[in-house]
Structures are given as C-alpha cells and as structure tokens.
C-alpha cells in the first residue's frame, strides 16, 4: 500500500476538492444555494455532514501579556482544533464586550486571558450567550516548547478527558467539570480534527487548585509521556452569566496575588522594624543617666600582698634588642663541640 499523505479532515484519496461539478452525496443542506451554479467549483463538505456538535471556542487575550502566556495560547489553539483566535482586547473595554466579540465570531465558548501588572495571569472560561463563567488565576505555566516534555501527538486529535472524583462531590466543581468538558473536548467529525484518540487531558483537584496535565498515549497498556502544556488554575469566582451576572460561588481559599505579595513584604518589613526597635532601645539605654557607684566591687581582685617598689621612670630608650636570626647555628656548634 502506498504511502498516503492524508489531508486533515477526512478527505480520502478519491475525492477531488476542486472543480467538482456535481455535489457529492451526503452533503449538508446548507449548500443548496450553490446548486444553481453547477459550474462554480464547490468544495465538498469536508465532514460529510456528520459534524453535529457545533462547539467553537474563542481564545484570545488582553494587552500586556508576556511571552509565556502567548505561547500558552498558541499551544491551546494547537491542541484544540475547534478554537478561533482574535486580536488583543483593550483593557479599557468592559468585559461584557467579549460577548459581542464572540457573537461576531460565531463562537459559543470563550477562553480569555487577562494579564495584570505584567505579572499575574487570569483566565476566564465562559459559555458565551447565557451560561456560567468562571475566573481563575493561572500559575505554574509550562508550554509545549519545553524540552522536558517529550511527548507528541497528532495536531487536532481528540482528547480523552479525565477528572478527579472530587469534581463530583461539590456542586461548584460539578459545574466547572461540565464547563471544561464542553470547552476542551473536540467535537467528533470536526473538519480540522483527526479521528484518533491519542492523548489525555487530566484535571485534578489538589490543594484547592485545579491541576491540568496533558499526556500522550503511547501504548494500549497505558504507558504515557507528557506532551504539555501544563498549568494550575486557582478558582476565584463563578458567575451565573457570561462575564457578568450574580456570583454563584466564591472561593474562600483564594488569596489574591496582591495580598500574597503584600504579606511577604509585611513579613520582611516587620523583621526590619523589630531590628530597628531593638537598636533604639539600646540607644536609649546608653543615654540614660547611670547611677554613680561609689565603691568598685572589683577593686581588690588584684590586690596582692607585696611591698611597694619605687616607681622607676625610664628617661632613655632601652637598648635595641639584638635579633639573632640564626640562633640555632650557635646551638649546633655547641652541640658539636660537646661531642
């Protein structure tokens, strides 16, 4: 069998995309308008009409992101073929503008990255027209390009999603699970997808955070290698509406990065302050009036009973000491003489 270079999206070797005069069987009813002009070349519907689950995710960011976030976004777009990209959003616009952007792009899910202070990265995952949305703080980002992630997978292959049992225990986690499933799973027969299932996304809840990992399935006996990207999501809030609406859930364990930095600064500052206080106290002690002690307790420690000698003041400098460099030679000669 000859080597086939298979085009993404299910076109077999026998199908010619261009200059098809007759539309193929099993086409979608949407292309009825072109039936009138049979001379216009109509590309055959790539998915052969089987693509039903129309999920489209818009992945974009605000301004001020750094290279790691940009790469992370690119990696997400590589991993998920049902995503679309958009230009950076200005910070001045309110968040509900995103809903309109999504509508224009005909997307029903959105992943929006927001960078604050060029340090903190926040991620919004939302179901755009009516559904719930969630805001996360993203930490520990590692991208596809890292050399320690040695796995590889087909571009656009469908992922298996694996969730921790904790996702079923709490209602807010259950909602998040549903949101993740709908956002991250590639629809079957998506035109840009590959029909194989060769990698796994895992979501685990540990330390009140959600850890995301991506593994390549090498063998059927479940030997795996990590592909990347990987990140940790710290839930902040869940809203009933898309990028707005009443708050459904607030994470009590969440500590904003600002407070975290502030705490660290306060800790170092308090240490410094303590040191200063100690110094001040010492200064005070030194300057305060000390009472005069009449009798010195240690006066008679060195009192040795011996007669007094007249004080002899030397008016002339003492004779310079003769430095005998080679003292030992004298001794040696003496020793030899002795023998």
């Amino acid at each position: 069998m000859s080597v086939l270079k298979r085009k993404r999206g299910g076109q077999g070797p026998g199908v010619k995309a261009k200059k098809v005069k007759f539309v193929q069987n099993g086409m979608k009813p949407q292309i009825t308008e072109t039936e009138q002009n049979n001379e216009i070349s109509v590309p055959a519907p790539v998915s052969m009409g089987k693509w039903r689950n129309k999920e489209r995710v818009l992945v974009f960011s605000s301004r001020g992101i750094n290279f790691r976030t940009r790469h992370l976004m690119q990696d997400l777009r590589t991993m998920m073929p049902h995503t679309k990209a958009d230009t950076k959003m200005d910070r001045k616009d309110k968040l509900f503008v995103i809903n309109e952007v999504c509508e224009i792009k005909n997307c029903n899910k959105c992943i929006f990255f927001e960078a604050k202070k060029k340090q903190d990265l926040y991620m919004w995952v939302a179901n755009v027209p009516h559904g719930p949305s969630a805001k996360f703080l993203v930490q520990n980002v590692h991208t596809l390009a890292e050399l320690k992630m040695t796995g590889n997978c087909l571009k656009g292959s469908r992922p298996l999603l694996s969730f921790d049992p904790q996702f079923d225990k709490e209602p807010h986690y259950a909602l998040l699970k549903e949101l993740f499933i709908q956002t991250f799973s590639t629809p079957q027969y998506h035109p840009r997808s590959q029909p194989f299932v060769d990698h796994v996304f895992t979501f685990t809840v540990t330390d009140n955070r959600i850890w995301f990992r991506n593994y390549q399935i090498i063998e059927e006996d479940a030997s795996m290698v990590e592909i990347g990207p990987r990140f940790v999501l710290n839930l902040i809030k869940i809203f009933q509406g898309s990028f707005g609406g009443p708050t459904l859930f607030e994470n009590p364990h969440f500590e904003s990065p600002n407070t975290h930095r502030r705490l660290i600064r306060m800790a170092t500052a308090s240490k410094l302050r303590e040191k200063q206080m100690v110094k001040e106290l010492q200064k005070l002690k030194r300057t305060e009036n000390k009472e005069v002690v009449t009798r010195d307790v240690t006066d008679d420690v060195f009192a040795t009973p011996a007669e007094e000698r007249p004080v002899h003041i030397e008016l002339e400098a003492p004779a310079a000491k003769v430095v005998k460099k080679n003292k030992h030679k004298a001794f040696k000669r003496q020793r030899n003489q002795k023998r």
């Binding site: 719930p132 694996s162 049992p165 209602p171 807010h172 909602l175 895992t202 540990t206 859930f249 607030e250």
Partner: protein
C-alpha cells in the same frame, strides 16, 4: 453601631480582590444620623462604623440550577470522551508495602514527584477504562504506520528534544566511565605499590640472610632454597648449591621438595647459568684422559658395575637421583661443606 453593607457590583471585580477599605464617613450626614436615632436604630453612646464580616458566596441551589440548564444531555459519551476516575494502582508503593493514599485530598502538593506520579496514574486509569469503550465504538487510538499527518510539535522541536536526551545520557555515561577509571587507577596503583613493597621486602630478607651466612652467623643455607641466585664475589663458590634451586621461587619450594628434576640438574650443571662459558666443563682430550676422579671402591662397590663402569666423568654422576643405595660417598652438599671447610 452602624453596620454598613458594601454592595459590590460585578464590574468592580478588580477592586473586590484587593483590601476592603473603611467606609467613608462623609456619606452619612447629620440629618440621616438624626433620623436613624429617631427610628431607634442608633443607641446612645459612641458609635462607630464597622464592616460587615465578608460573606463568601456559595449559592448551592443556584449552582445546581445553572448546571441543570447548562448541561447538554443530548450529547452521547463519544462526543465528550470524559471520565471520572481515581488513579491506577501504584505498583511501586504496593511492592514496598506502603499505604497508597488514593484520594487526591491526601496528596501533598509540595512533593513534586509524588504529585506528578499521582496525575500520571490518574491518566493511566482513564486510558485503561476508556480503551474498551473506544474499541466498542470503533474509534482508533493508534494511528497506522503509513498515516502521516501534522503533529502538534514540529519535527524540529522533536529533534531538539531527542538531542537533549541523548546529550544527557552521554554525559551521564561519561561521568560514570570517568569514575570507574579513577577507581581502577586507584586500585591498580594500590596493587602495584603492594607488589613492589613485597619484592623489596623479600630482597632485603634475602640479602640479610646471605650476609649472615657470609659472616658465618648461620650455617644453614635454607634461604637459598627456592630463591634467586646470589651474586656474592669473594664468597666461597656456592654455584653448586645454587643450581639445585635455580629458577624457583620460595612458593614453589613446598611443591618441588625433591628439587628440580634430574634432567634440569644435569643441564644446569652442564650449561651453567648463562653468560660466557668458562670452558671448564668441556670434554677436551685432557679431560677425557683424566682419570684422577676415579675411585675404584666407589666404582666397584656400586653393585654390579652399573653401566659403563667407573671410568665415566665424575660430573655426570653428580646429582642423579636421590637414592644412592649403599654408597659410602657423602652427598654433594656434604662434600661442598667439607670442601668449604678445608
């Protein structure tokens, strides 16, 4: 005490995350305060404003309702491919007899290796569970050998990764080799030093023994047995004694108590110890005709005039065989001693 509620709008999300600030007192005018006092909300005494303890929203009902609305129940599993599973069995921990804590809550997030292994095992369990289901639905998980398609990471990237891995491996191997080499050298050096020392010790002992013999302190020539030849000029000729032990080490002494075999002895006697032959052992006309070494008693008393009679050269009979069977002639060593003494 006036308790003030800070109603927060969703658009002021960012401020929420920071510190809560104290209420601005200028909002409450005197008139309002008077009204509140009249209504009985205020009590006499010093009043000051505090913040309401922050309520953390956890609208369980709302969440459940939202989930019910949001969930797409018409989607079959094959569209979603989601699983909920605990991690697979940890073979290593089980073999070590350690308690494996299955729940993710027990996981220590700071222990990197344990945490990553936990995630790995979770993925493994998912794959093991999903494989039969996918096979039933006829979805392939392995791509065929001739299926070429774009990969998530480019070939260039994979090359880089491979190079790095190989480099790491080679570096490790190199360091291992270097370590082994160093160890070997150390060991070799040690062994060499030991051997040299041993040899030096032996030599010293030998020399001292020889000196002792020379000086006449000992009359035993045991030290020569199984030893190298001595090179003492001026000392009485001990060539004969040395011949018996030529080429043997002390270790072999026990093995060859009979000394070198007769053939060896004969050859040593005949051909000496190398170097220019002095020519004293040649069979010349004179040596052949010299019968001064003939002892009639010895020749006849040997029991049957063995072989060629007593006229054979005396050197030939020298050390042949240990058993002489009734000869009165003293042995070679004895003769040497006598020779030395006289």
């Amino acid at each position: 005490m006036i308790v003030v509620n800070n109603t927060m709008d969703i658009n002021e999300d960012d401020e929420q995350l920071g510190e809560t600030s104290e209420e601005d007192n200028s909002e409450l005018s005197d008139g309002e305060l008077q009204d509140a006092f009249a209504k009985g909300l205020l009590k006499p005494g010093l009043n000051f404003t505090t913040q309401e303890p922050k309520k953390i929203v956890n609208n369980v009902e709302g969440l459940k309702q939202c989930l019910a609305d949001f969930r797409k129940n018409t989607l079959p599993w094959v569209e979603r491919l989601d699983m909920v599973n605990l991690p697979a069995d940890d073979i290593v921990a089980k073999s070590e007899g350690r308690l494996d804590n299955k729940a993710s809550g027990d996981l220590n997030p700071d222990d990197d290796f344990q945490r990553e292994m936990f995630f790995y095992r979770q993925a493994q369990a998912a794959v093991l569970e999903a494989m039969p289901r996918l096979q039933k639905l006829k979805i392939a998980t392995k791509r065929p050998e001739d299926y070429f398609a774009e990969m998530a990471k480019s070939d260039q990237q994979m090359q880089k990764i491979r190079k790095k891995l190989i480099m790491k491996q080679t570096m490790m191997e190199k360091s291992e080799k270097a370590k082994k080499l160093r160890e070997q050298r150390k060991y070799g050096k040690k062994v060499q030093v030991e051997v040299i020392q041993k040899r030096q010790k032996e030599k010293k002992a030998m020399m001292s023994a020889v000196k002792k013999y020379q000086k006449g302190m000992t009359d035993k020539l045991d030290f020569l047995e199984g030893d190298q030849k001595t090179a003492k000029g001026g000392a009485p000729a001990k060539g004969g004694a040395g011949k018996g032990a030529g080429g043997q080490t002390p270790d072999k002494k026990a093995m060859n108590k009979k000394g070198p075999n007769a053939k060896r002895k004969y050859k040593d006697q005949r051909f000496g110890f190398g170097g220019k032959k002095s020519g004293t052992k040649w069979n010349t006309k004179d040596s052949h005709n010299d019968v001064s070494g003939f002892r009639a008693k010895v020749a006849h008393g040997k029991g049957g005039k063995g072989g060629k009679g007593g006229k054979a050269g005396p050197g030939g009979k020298g050390g042949r065989g240990p058993a002489k069977g009734g000869t009165k002639r003293p042995g070679k060593n004895a003769r040497k001693k006598m020779k030395g003494r006289s």
